[in-house]
C-alpha cells in the first residue's frame, strides 16, 4: 500500500453518468490482485472522506491504472470535472482481491457483474484470459444506454447481457438470466466471481453458496480504508450469536459465498 499523487492521463465519458479515468503513477507498477481497490481524494476540499473505487485495468509498463465510476453524488461529480494533467491523491492497493491461484489453464470461469460492479471484474478477466482460462461474462444493467465495456468483455470470451427493460440481451434481472442460461453453472465453472449491487450479490450468494470457489466483492461505507477504524464491517454468516464481523476494506472486499451475511 502506498499513498501518492497520481496524474490524470485522460478522462472520458462512457455513458450519461459513467466515466473512465486513467491515472499515472508508481502505484500502477506495484503487484496487484484484481479486486483490490484504491481510495481517491476527490478534488473538493469540503469532502473529507476518500472515495473507494475498484481498479478496472492495470498497465504496469506504462505505469497507468484505469478506474470506471458512475457519478452518484458530490464526490464523483467533482471527480468528473477533473482534467488531464491534474493530480489526485490516491491510496492503494487496498484490501484482498479475487483468489484465482487454484485455476488452471483450460478451466472455465464465470464473471457476474451488475452496473458499476464490473470494473474489478474486467481487471480479473484480463488476467485470467492471459492465463488461458475460458471466460464467460454475464453483465446486467437497467437499460441499454447504461451499458459500458461491452466490447471489452466480449473480447475476453463469451458474453451474456441482461437489461431490466430488455433493450439489450435478456429481459430481466441477472439472477433470472443465470437460472435460464447457466443452470449448470455450479458444475460447469471452476470459479464464479461477482460484483454489483447487494440484490445481485444476494442472488449469487444464494445460488452458489456451496460452490468451492464462488466469490463476491462487496461495497461498504468507509472512512480509513485501511482496516483501522471499523466503519466498513459486515457480519459473518457463521455468526448466529453475533460475535464476528469482517472489515470490508481490509479482510474484503472479496469474500467467498456463504461467508458473510448480506
Amino acid at each position: 500500500m502506498i499513498q501518492e499523487q497520481m496524474t490524470i492521463v485522460r478522462q472520458h465519458q462512457l455513458t450519461d453518468d459513467v466515466y473512465e479515468l486513467v491515472l499515472a503513477g508508481a502505484m500502477a507498477r506495484l503487484p496487484w490482485t484484481p479486486g483490490q481497490f484504491v481510495e481517491v481524494q476527490v478534488p473538493d476540499p469540503r469532502l473529507l472522506l476518500r472515495r473507494p473505487f475498484g481498479v478496472a485495468a492495470l498497465d504496469p509498463a506504462q505505469g497507468q491504472l484505469t478506474l470506471l465510476y458512475k457519478t452518484v453524488g458530490a464526490g464523483t461529480a467533482a471527480l468528473s470535472q477533473a482534467r488531464p494533467g491534474e493530480k489526485l491523491a490516491v491510496l492503494g492497493p487496498l484490501g484482498h482481491g479475487f483468489p484465482s491461484d487454484f485455476l488452471q489453464a483450460g478451466k472455465q470461469a464465470l464473471l457476474i457483474g451488475g452496473g458499476t460492479g464490473i470494473p474489478p471484474l474486467y481487471a480479473l478477466g484480463r488476467q485470467l484470459h492471459q492465463q488461458g482460462i475460458q471466460l464467460t461474462s454475464a453483465l446486467g444493467f437497467a437499460t441499454k444506454s447504461q451499458f459500458f465495456y461491452q466490447a471489452e468483455f466480449a473480447a475476453l470470451g463469451d458474453l451474456a447481457c441482461a437489461t431490466n427493460d430488455g433493450s439489450l440481451g435478456f429481459r430481466g434481472h441477472l439472477g433470472l438470466l443465470l437460472d435460464t442460461q447457466f443452470a449448470d453453472a455450479q458444475t460447469r465453472f471452476a470459479a464464479i466471481y461477482a460484483c454489483g449491487p447487494t440484490g445481485l450479490l444476494m442472488a449469487v450468494n444464494n445460488r452458489y453458496r456451496d460452490h468451492p470457489h464462488a466469490y463476491l466483492s462487496l461495497e461498504s461505507r468507509m472512512a480509513c480504508g485501511v482496516g483501522e477504524c471499523y466503519a466498513c464491517v459486515v457480519p459473518a454468516a457463521s455468526d448466529t450469536a453475533a460475535t464476528a464481523v469482517y472489515k470490508v476494506c481490509d479482510e474484503g472486499p472479496v469474500f467467498a459465498t456463504g461467508e458473510v451475511k448480506l
Partner: protein
Amino acid sequence: MTTSNHDHQNHQATNEHPAHHLASADRLAVHLPGLDLKNPIMPASGCFGFGQHYAELYDLNQLGAIMIKAATNEPRLGNPTPRVAETASGMLNAIGLQNPGLEAIMGEKLPWLATNFPDLPIIANVAGTTEADYVAVCQRISQAPNVKAIELNISCPNVAHGGLEFGTDPKMAAALTAACRAVSQVPLYIKLSPNVTDIRPIALAVAAAGADGLTMINTLVGMRLDLRTRQPILANGTGGLSGPAIKPVAVRLIHQVHQVTDLPIIGMGGVMTASDALELIMAGASAVAVGTANFADPQACPRIINELPQVLDQYQISSIQQLIQETAVVR
C-alpha cells in the same frame, strides 16, 4: 526548518527569542504527566486503530504518541452499518466502540507496538459500561510497559450505556475518576464530552477526584437524514460529528476549561494542519491529537509534524513549550 537565510530575514525575531536556535527536535518537545513527547502530535483514539496498517505507510516513530482505539473488558462488535456519513467539512460516526477486547489488546496489539516501536508512548483509551468495567481495564492495561497514560473515555456518544452517562454528570465522573485513579499505574487523563451545557463543572469535578490531565473534545452528537428513504443515514440514527467543522467548538471548550483548571489538556477536534494544532495549543492545550484528518490524508500526522517548525517560524514562536507557557501567563 530554520535555515540561515530565514534567520537573516527574521533577524529581530531571532534576537527576541534566543530559543529560536533550539534544535528542531527540542522546539517541538512537550512534557505532560507520564508523557515526555518529542513532538505534541498524536493520532486520536478510534481514528488510527492500533496503528498496524498506518505503519505500512510511514514510520510511526515520527509520532509524539499514539492514542489507541477504545479498549473494553470484553470484545465489542459495535453498531449496525452504515456507521459513517460525510457532512460538510466533517463526518458522523457511530462505530459503537468496536474493539477486540482487553485480552487481545494486551496479548497482541500492545506487544506488537512495543516490539516494533519500543520508544513510542501509547495512551490507552479505556471504555466500559459499568464502573467495575472501567476499573478492571485500567488496572490491567496500565501495567503494559508501553502504556504511559490512560485516556478515560467517558464521552462516547454512540453506546447505550456507559460512556456519556459518566461524562455528563459531575458526580458520576468524579467517582469513576477516583476509582480508576486508585488502580492505575500510569497518569489518568479524562476525555471530556462537548455534549453538555457547561463543561467546567465536569472538568473541576474530575480534577478534584485526582485526574492527572484532560483530553478534549470527543465528538458532538449529530444526525443526517437520507431524503430518498426519509430515514437516518446512520443505522444508529445519531452519530458523533468530527473534523474541521468542530474545530471552533474545540477551541472554545479548551479555552473555557483552561481558564478554570491547571490540569494539562490534550486538545483535539478538527485539526488538519500545523496551524490548527497551534490554535488548539493557544487555546490551552499542551499536546494535540489528530483524528478525522487521518481519513482525508493517511499521512496527516507526519505532515503536520513536519509543517510545525515552519509555522512556528511564521508566527515567531520559539518552541511549543514557549507557546504553552505564554498561554498559561495569559490566563
